[in-house]
């Protein structure tokens, strides 16, 4: 079963008397039966949002309990995802307040994006080899896709 959840969280934080309203939008897709560990699916989904800029720095993300309830899964699984995100520098926590998106410079973000892209590419390359697509044809295909997405030669 595929479960897609959109979580909208609106948080009011009292910082030195000032009141801030922060809204964040999270899309998390969880497929319990895909064979990929659920915590990884959550982590991947959020990494994607962070790298693509959908979640901006210092934004407050749902607490572990909130997200677990929305996804109807065990908080331990969400906790594990958050741990991975924290370890890899995507989020940070303020005890007693919650988890926030970490500020990262453009270079780090790009590195992270390339990391993820590399993994996806490995999978695609495997398929190409499996289908015995020639190196030349494959390269042509890749260039075609890039051109149509980025427009012309870049």
């Amino acid at each position: 079963m595929q479960l897609t959840v959109r979580t909208i969280c609106i948080s009011i934080i009292n910082t030195d008397g000032a009141v801030q309203g922060v809204t964040c939008l999270i899309w998390v897709k969880v497929d319990f039966h895909s064979g990929e560990p659920v915590y990884q699916q959550i982590a991947q989904s959020m990494k994607g949002d962070i790298i693509s800029g959908k979640l901006s720095r210092d934004e407050l993300i749902p607490s572990i309990r909130e997200l677990a309830r929305d996804l109807k899964i065990n908080p331990n699984t969400v906790a594990r995802a958050y741990r991975e995100l924290e370890n890899e520098g995507y989020i940070y926590s303020r005890p007693g307040v919650g988890y926030f998106i970490k500020d990262s410079d453009k270079k780090t973000m790009e590195e992270k994006a390339l990391e993820i892209l590399a993994k996806e590419m490995a999978g695609i390359v495997d398929i190409a080899r499996n289908y015995q697509v020639s190196r030349q044809k494959f390269t042509e295909l890749v260039m075609q896709s890039i051109n149509s997405a980025y427009g012309g030669d870049e």
């Binding site: 319990f32 895909s34 659920v38 899964i73 331990n76």
Partner: protein
């Protein structure tokens, strides 16, 4: 903190020559633990051993810090739903619930009312006239309308319609969110996969798999291979758990993390490694008798 710990457990049934043997099993407190296996694999036996309904031949069981025989201390902390959901034939549903409220420690009347809405039953109906599903509904109320640290459920969704099954799973999750530990056995791989965080698979009285579900998915993978190509792989490169040979191809369940998989794919171009879900694992282990994990 372990909710349950089992070591070197052995129980033989003389009438049927069935023996349950569990060498090492631990359950974290606050987890939802799934118990899978075919009929007769030993799931009900194991749960009965935890409840002191059946006694082991030998072995060590610790449950919430006590031995299972310490029932006076454990009664208030454990809620049990047996596989056989029969209750007193001549009682009406209402009388049964009244009796339950008097005899079950930690009974919560408000919660019972809530649960009666989720699992509706006619109060005047005699228990002998209830269907299997209705008896399960009644037992669901008896099991969850009370406080407990540990819920032991033997096939809690069997006989329920899909909506109630979903509600039962929701109840289980809600208890878990409050820090309670739940063990439940099931035939339905789907519901186990969506609810549990760790599990064990039993086959003919032995535990063939045990661990955190996410970990298992990370550490196991599937190889689909044409039979002719099997010989091309040196046996030492694979940590094989189980194999299943079909007509032209073989399915091999292997142990190994991401790195091992990548290396394998790099070394052998024709190999395709895939993620496994519970169904894959179950079918491979049950069919071909994987040995201890």
């Amino acid at each position: 903190m372990h909710a349950v710990q089992i070591k070197e457990l052995c129980k033989s049934y003389k009438n049927s020559s069935f023996t349950l043997q569990i060498n090492d099993l631990s359950l974290e407190a606050g987890s939802i633990f799934g118990l899978l296996g075919s009929n007769g694999a030993g799931k009900t036996s194991l749960l009965k051993l935890l409840m002191d309904i059946v006694r082991p031949d030998r072995g060590y069981i610790e449950i919430l810090g006590h031995r299972p025989s310490e029932r006076e201390k454990l009664q208030a902390k454990i809620s049990y739903m047996p596989e056989n959901k029969n209750l007193y034939h001549n009682m009406t549903v209402k009388k049964m619930l009244d009796y339950a409220s008097a005899i079950i420690p930690g009974w919560d009347n408000d919660k019972a009312l809530e649960l009666k809405n989720i699992f509706p039953l006619e109060g005047k109906k005699r228990i002998s006239t209830l269907s299997y599903g209705e008896k399960t509904q009644l037992y669901a109320i008896l099991t969850f309308a009370r406080s407990a640290d540990l819920f032991i459920l033997d096939e809690p969704t069997r006989g329920l319609d899909p909506i109630m099954q979903e509600q039962m799973l929701q109840l289980i999750k809600e208890e878990s969110w409050q820090g309670k530990t739940i063990i439940f056995s099931s035939h339905q791989l789907g519901e186990i996969e969506e609810s549990v965080d760790s599990l064990a698979m039993l086959r003919k009285g032995h535990m063939v798999l045990n661990g955190n579900l996410d970990d298992l998915k990370s550490e196991l993978f599937l190889l689909k291979l044409e039979k002719s190509k099997i010989s091309a792989i040196p046996p030492s490169t694979l940590d094989i758990i189980a194999t299943h040979h079909q007509h032209k191809q073989s399915l091999i369940l292997c142990q190994g993390g991401m790195e091992a998989r990548q290396k394998l794919q790099a070394d052998f171009a024709f190999l395709n490694t895939e993620n496994v879900n519970i169904k894959d694992i179950f079918l491979l282990l049950m069919e071909n008798g994987g040995e201890e994990e």
